[in-house]
């Protein structure tokens, strides 16, 4: 099974480890120095890094060649499927987790965005129909007739 890696920039790696492990079911794989940790959840590997100065051995969070520093935040995020989003949201709220929005019903899913302690978004969603599920085998293949040219005779 292939591992999928996502890198999040965080202000405080220890606080981020606690957040992802306590609230979202991640496991710590390594935390060799204060600026770096690697967590896993299923096939997702989440790499947490704090901004480091140029010349730091860890290369993932150094400033860009033009000097721009990396920061937490933005809108791009990984997503986690939950069976009951209302229950999950309620539990997280009780646990003091920050929300960016309320539960939104979109096309095929209900979704909500939470934030880690550094303000990075994580999206939780509950599928409302099979195509929205994450399991590729749940996708309905198109019947061949639909994609082959129709016989005009």
């Amino acid at each position: 099974m292939s591992t999928v890696s996502v890198r999040y920039i965080v202000d405080d790696v220890d606080a981020a480890i606690a957040f992802y492990c306590v609230h979202l079911g991640f496991s710590e794989q390594m935390h060799p120095n204060p600026a770096f940790a690697m967590l896993t959840r299923g096939d997702l590997r989440l790499v947490l890094v704090a901004p480091v100065p140029a010349g730091h051995p860890g290369g993932g969070s150094r400033p860009m060649p033009d000097g721009t520093e990396q920061r937490p935040g933005g809108w791009n995020r990984f997503m986690l499927e939950v069976p009951d989003i209302a229950a999950a949201a309620s539990e997280l709220r009780d646990g003091g987790v920050r929300f960016r929005n309320e539960i939104v019903t979109g096309v095929g899913v209900k979704q909500v965005m939470i934030e880690d302690p550094s303000g990075n978004p994580v999206e939780l969603f509950e599928p409302l129909r099979a195509e929205a599920r994450l399991d590729p085998s749940a996708l309905q293949p198109r019947p061949l007739r639909a994609v082959l040219p129709q016989h005009s005779g």
Binding site: S5, G73, G74, N76, M79, G106, L134, P136, S137, A138
Partner: protein, 183 residues
């Protein structure tokens, strides 16, 4: 000397663009077809309360769906699973599902209650492993892809940062000594 009569049968050589993920996509389609053929296998997908899938999934915001899909397919070997133009696409590369959403439309791109609209960019990113990082980055650069940070050495990896047409970062890594693929 008369022309070879067989010349009429010869076909011009057409360069074929390699699509590394083609076999994986085909496999998924076959497996999906097989899964649907058996009602027992298809059932969990429709029953509420089924165990949540753990397929790693990431959502990126993009300014223009068509350009983004072309970039991820053409430059990074993603395969498309679903395109709901003009605001949403779902792509795959290996075990990663990448969702592309256009800001400002209902659903994931909808403005927040305070009016803030999602946008492309930021520093969080997917990290894709490649076999020949220097060669890959050079090929991408020549193809006009923006390279935000060229190849640098980190701990157990070499890495580079490229940008999609909307400015989202994609990290490319090549493992070096000491890299742990899976623990």
């Amino acid at each position: 000397m008369a022309a070879d009569p067989l010349d009429a049968l010869r076909l011009p050589v057409v360069p074929v663009e390699p699509r590394p993920q083609f076999a994986a996509a085909l496999q998924r389609q076959i497996e999906a077809a097989e899964a649907t053929a058996e009602p027992a296998a298809a059932k969990p997908a429709e029953s509420p309360g089924a165990a949540p899938s753990q397929t790693p999934t990431v959502r990126y915001f993009v300014d223009d769906l068509e350009t983004a899909v072309a970039f991820y397919r053409g430059r990074l070997g993603f395969d498309e699973e679903l395109i709901a133009a003009p605001s949403f696409a779902m792509l795959y590369r290996g075990g990663l599902r990448l969702l592309l959403s256009v800001p400002g439309v209902p659903g994931a791109g909808a403005p927040l209650p305070d009016g803030t609209v999602p946008e492309a960019g930021g520093w969080n990113r997917i990290s894709l492993q490649v076999a020949d990082l220097a060669g890959t980055v050079e090929a991408l650069r020549q193809a006009g892809v923006r390279v935000r940070a060229g190849v640098t050495a980190g701990v157990a990896v070499r890495q580079a940062l490229i940008q999609d047409p909307s400015g989202n970062l994609v990290e490319l890594i090549e493992p070096t000594a000491g890299y742990r693929d899976r623990t």
